[in-house]
Symmetry: D3
Subunit: 237 residues, 6 copies
């Protein structure tokens, strides 16, 4: 039996709580079951060199895990003086995903930085981060609009993400930590509303997988993303 008594294609309970930070322009606390991520969206009125002069804005992300977000305490990256390869990989993925959901020419010449900090980890921290970051983004843009800092209306399509595993040939949606450790394949899907794929990252943890398995996982994942879009819609300003 899966955690939360759910079937193979069910998400864990999803809670999206926007506005949890007094300081950030946009924020969202996102829970996928026991996984909890605090996402803030910070607006700064400058852009990185490679965007300068194009008239467009920029979105970027940083990811971190509190040392005891995990079963065993892991050492603090700030103390080691080095981010792990895993951290870098995840924050690059979150950044690309967010940049795919908005036309950056419509947000003004500014940078929006998403800080995704995992308070508690139980699998799916990167997919929860992306799903919550979209909510934080919309609230941040709303705040800019209210302040009269946006000339037009940014073009946005909801983006969300989910992990899917393959366990003895059956696709399991939204893996928790234990499932993630035992699944044969781990697939992370990022998509815009309407089954528009943005990122597909599948890894055989043991052995390999075949095209049919990939197809089954994609179908289950895209259905779950549609449900995440519904949850996001309820957390809009």
């Amino acid at each position: 039996m899966r955690s939360f008594n759910r079937g193979s294609s069910d998400l864990r309970p999803v809670v999206l709580t926007p506005g949890v930070s007094r300081h950030a322009e946009g924020s969202c606390r996102v829970e996928f079951g026991h996984t909890q991520v605090l996402v803030t969206c910070s607006v700064e009125e400058r852009v990185p060199p490679h965007v300068l002069g194009t008239g467009a804005g920029w979105l970027t992300a940083e990811y971190g895990m509190l040392p005891r977000a995990t079963h065993e305490r892991s050492s603090r990256e700030a103390a080691k003086g080095k981010q792990t390869g895993r951290t870098m990989e995840i924050q690059r993925l979150i950044g690309r995903s967010l940049r795919a959901c908005v036309d950056m020419k419509t947000i003004g010449v500014r940078t929006l930085t998403f800080d995704c900090d995992v308070l508690q980890a139980d699998g799916g921290t990167r997919t929860a981060s992306i799903t919550g970051a979209y909510v934080a983004l919309v609230w941040a843009l709303q705040k800019l609009k209210t302040k009269g800092l946006l000339s037009g209306t940014p073009k946005l399509t909801p983006v969300a993400a989910v992990s899917v595993g393959l366990m003895k040939g059956v696709p399991l949606v939204d893996l928790d930590y234990e499932e993630d450790s035992t699944a044969d394949v781990d697939l992370n899907i990022v998509a815009l509303q309407g089954a528009k794929l943005v990122e597909v990252q599948g890894t055989a943890e043991h052995g390999y997988f075949e095209k049919a398995g990939l197809d089954a996982m994609l179908e289950a994942g895209l259905a779950a993303i549609a449900k995440l879009n519904e949850a996001q819609a309820k957390a809009m300003p």
Copy 2:
């Protein structure tokens, strides 16, 4: 008028919520008004070299601030590859404070690490961390006891901390960020229950202060620490 409509010797609303982490042996979310710190206590069955062979255990602390815990986003220490002097100073203070409240020969040959991560900052993050860490400590020791991992009963005295400022000669207890920025003096007091001082750190932010001002601040601070001890008592296992 001070925030939360309080008088000069009043604390902000204090909320101590133990057991907020599924994974950590002990944990406490501590709020001093808008300041929020997540404290976890992790138990590891090894001790650092300088304690090895003494039969005693060890307590240590790490401190971090989420990038957007503050009004303006500050850069992530893990990304810069370096902890600031302020971070190091604070985590050393937290560690010393916790080591003062327990006889380390009574906790077994193990290390207890307190991770104090500031989710939202509005002044007093180090004093909130110490106050919450004591709660996390008691819960962690309780868990060890329940599991039969403690041979005796650890000797403990509650420790708590508060900041006091001096504004035009009047001591103000538990400064928020705005008060902290404008006070003439900033004093952090750490004490064991019963007005037993563990640390006193006073800094003239502008000019200097006199003995009489220090006395007034200490008196107000120790009274506030007694109230923090009451709040801690309600959060015990």
Copy 3:
């Protein structure tokens, strides 16, 4: 017209030259068109802590790019004191890919480290690295066998990798740098011989892609991998 006068499903000229290093246990210089990677496989008679005591061996990879492997000189990671997120992401991918092609219980209690250093870059450096590393692996195992250091015969399945892009709906196999910069989607496929998928990483560089596009890319990519397996077969000991 594509570089090397090739059609949309053609690889660039592939050259696999084993035995290019006097010192390494196994080595292969791999060229995918103008992309050139020097791969060495180094054998060390120890394993990392997480493998210790399992009786198995371990495979790992490191990746680097010479500063002027690219059109513009990029700064030397050793001089900056930091590997980029891209470097870390790629070397993690190479390591996982190689670990998928061999039963690590059959190689003895030792670590095989693949150093993939890009001498010249023109797109596809990670896929070339994986394809060449398999050749270096087989030569290194052969050397161990010759020296009597292998008790049995390692279980191996050839692994290779290719990138596929989508340009106006048409899948293009083995993108060079210019194509890579302009393609709408970039998909990296790692597979064992026989269309057994190990990794699938697809990213929409502009906008998004649909399931049909992914299917087309996968089909073209797996066909190309079969051709890479043929090239690998010719470079075997």
Copy 4:
């Protein structure tokens, strides 16, 4: 009996030798008994960003300990690539202390950097550094005046510092290394001439201390600081 045959409220022999550096604008070699610190004050005609445009100057400090300044050799911070928390804490304290003794609007738009390098350590390196840095400061300002680089006369009040311990209830002034290791409490006091407190940092090394003990230490410390001010006066230009 205390070192140098002194009573509980006596300082060790204090030697302040200004002008020891050919290159620095101001300098002072300070000895508190066997503790020796070389302080230089360097003037640079620029200010850090947070001061820019205010018309004021800035003072800052760096602290270091030669590897064999101590009983056992400690590793070189430059070789480890990292300053310890203790180093950072001390240099922040020195900087704050110096900024308290002068009106920074009266020194011109420039930065004065105090390098405090411990040649030999026997307790009290931070208090010796502050006491000697004041002397170096006055000489540096004198040099600027002579060169016609100061428009007015900087407003200065002498600053000095001393440590006080509590040993079985008795306050001991100016602890040497051995006393520092065994005292129950360690208090560092920084004050402007006239018992004007700038910093008070007291730590219970074992157990705790009470208000009465703090009062006794402060009284003894302020008396000692008055004597340090006399020694400083003799080292003025």
Copy 5:
């Protein structure tokens, strides 16, 4: 018998292959026997601060060794986050040597960076680097000239380098790794065509050496450098 059946004053086979990089403005693959170094010369239209405003250009060098260029794998400097002292020493030597062979006022206000990456090491990597870098320099300047980016003709004198050892009193030219490990003295000579010394670095590996030995090594080394100049002449544009 020495490697390659050579006499005490003979170089190993020298191969200089210019133009091996598609991207770099100048490049040369240099082989001294089994030692192989890939040298690229990159032109950037900016100069470091200390040259700015002088009208001159600048030449600088970086050196690296692939992890398995050596008999045993050495760890990757980029992964350790630190270049070794040996690496720094060598790249400083290469930079000085190249700056000695050209009048930097005649190359325009630009920086030429020589990346010397050792693909395979068998002694003499620094001397091979210098010898090959001169070839890469000439090709890069030729390219600038062809593009009309040079106003005049740069003043150049060929520079080359060789190592000489002393084995039981006999000077051995161009030591390979094994000889280098056993020689009593190791001398690196860098000279401009015509026995004009630029650098002389001699180290007694065991014991010491006398003036007569130094004289003998210098004579043999300068003769070998003349032969390297001949090889360079054949690799000119």
Copy 6:
């Protein structure tokens, strides 16, 4: 006229003051004119891995420059988190020089670390360091002997070093900073007593030098080293 009214072959006033550190096993403050270096020799009862099991001891050196040892303040290496190439080069040279003057099999299985910290710089800091380190070495060995920690008598030959420049063809001995900046060639010579060369490092700062110039510099340098040996003899235990 040269500084200190000296002729071309004269050293600056040399002062060697042993025993300046209370803590170090051996120490020497060395002055070459205005250049001042504090050298300590620390004995630790362990050896690095590559010496372990050989029965021999080891000598190593570290070098540092106080930030304001120089005309302009340079940034602190510990604060930058990185030693410069110059620092590394110098400390490697000092280490090699000291290892040449003693048979390491005769000092016991221990490491002697020489910390050479430049208090004031005016040219020749590396040669002063080596010359003073020999004195510190002898005192440290004497201390070991007195304590009964040496089984035999270490075999020692005095080592010293000097710089020589070439100014319009004339060799100048022991260059100060200004001469060092303007000389055409800079040669550092390290030798054992009796004109036994250990290191010869000559660099043409402008242009080149010829064999005759090198010979003249060597002759002048070796004569000066003989005088340094005399100064060392007077500072022996």
